[in-house]
Amino acid sequence: MKIGTYMIWAAVAIGTGLLVLLGYFIELQVLLGLRLLLLQWAVLLAAAALLVGLFNLLSVHWSKVSLQEVGWPYSAILILFFLVTLVLGLIFGPDYEVVRLLFNYVQLPVEASLTALLAVALTLAGFRLVSRRRDLVSVIFLGSALLVLIGTGPWPVASDSFIAQGFGDLRAWISQVWAAGGARGVLLGVALGAVTTGLRILLAADRPYGD
């Protein structure tokens, strides 16, 4: 029974993946239409999955509140704002003024602050990096970062000087040649890894859909 179920799901997954993949490479109208149909289904399923995920989010925090686990007040606040925003969004739409206010004055500042925190974290990580990880790569990493920063940011004095211009060019050279070249190489490997991962799923070696 288990094997039969697993084979059904695997067959569905493999068939769907092959259709989309072939539709990308083979310009057959049938395949293209089928591929677009499957993509639309995927989008719909993703939206439905988002609802399921939101329900999961709510249930997790509801459980925290009911059990009064550590940090349950935060969960309670989350549930409160979740329900308020959801109700307002469902009734009045996402462009309702209150919802936009919530976005502009709650979510946006919070996320912007997190980005600022990221700047602090990166600066601190750079400060500690050589001390924490004593290797040449770390030194090169920080040296490159330093050069790019110097070449990117404005100079308090002599910004038009030859040195400033030189750092600007050096930064462009580093980022557009070395960094971009290295990044492309990395991306190539990442792409191969992604392809491999996808093929494993098509071969049913990986079954994230379960058994």
């Binding site: 993703a46 399921v52 995920g53 980005t115 991962t197 494993r200 070696a205």
Partner: protein, 249 residues
Amino acid sequence: MTVEGLVGITLLVVFVILILLFAGLRDRWPVVLRPIESFRLLGQRIERAVEAGQRVHLSLGTGSVIGSDSAPALAGLAVLGKVARETSMSDRPVVVTAGDGAMTLLAQDTLRAAYNEAGAKDRYRATSGRLLAPTPFSYIAGLPVLLASEDVSVHMLIGSFGAEGALGADFGERNRIFVLAGTDDVQSQALLFATADHPLIGEEVFASGAYLNVGHLHRSSIRAQDVVRLLVVVAILIGTLLRTLGVGL
């Protein structure tokens, strides 16, 4: 069919053949993996976490299933299955979070399958696979509370992350727990290199399944990947040479 399409299909077919071939030759020609300290330490830390009754957390990132950024998350799901089996008997089984609803469902399915395989079906909890938040920064904002309240000692980030992934790794470092982070985004990899103790660079995130012995196809796919990489490198070199010689393609 265009030339690009033909090349693409050919490449995929070759890829599949190589994977299956190397899987068949795994006894004669076993795959030898380059030692990665991060994966070695990961096994140790997971064992310690199980012994100490602490939680292992796996973040699948903020990528969606239907996007190109789903690949690292799918690799993370393979790792999740392995880790879930290993920690199924722990007092505090693994918890997995995602920033996408569909990815959350896949995580729950993977957990369920892993517990079934481990014979611990009753230990499965749907809340072990969580949608932490639907947006990247809100997802990251939820991590500190999760790490603190769940007594997480192993913090793995294997999925698609933007720059916010560096912040997620930094939260783990603040808690002084084991942080292993890998993603497909090169920019984020650079940030993770600075903030995470154990960053996965390049395609290492896709090799995590092979290093954790998820299955022999993972190991054989690593070798197939290397072969195809060599082919691509050769193709790039040939193209560069031809372009240098003025031969248009």
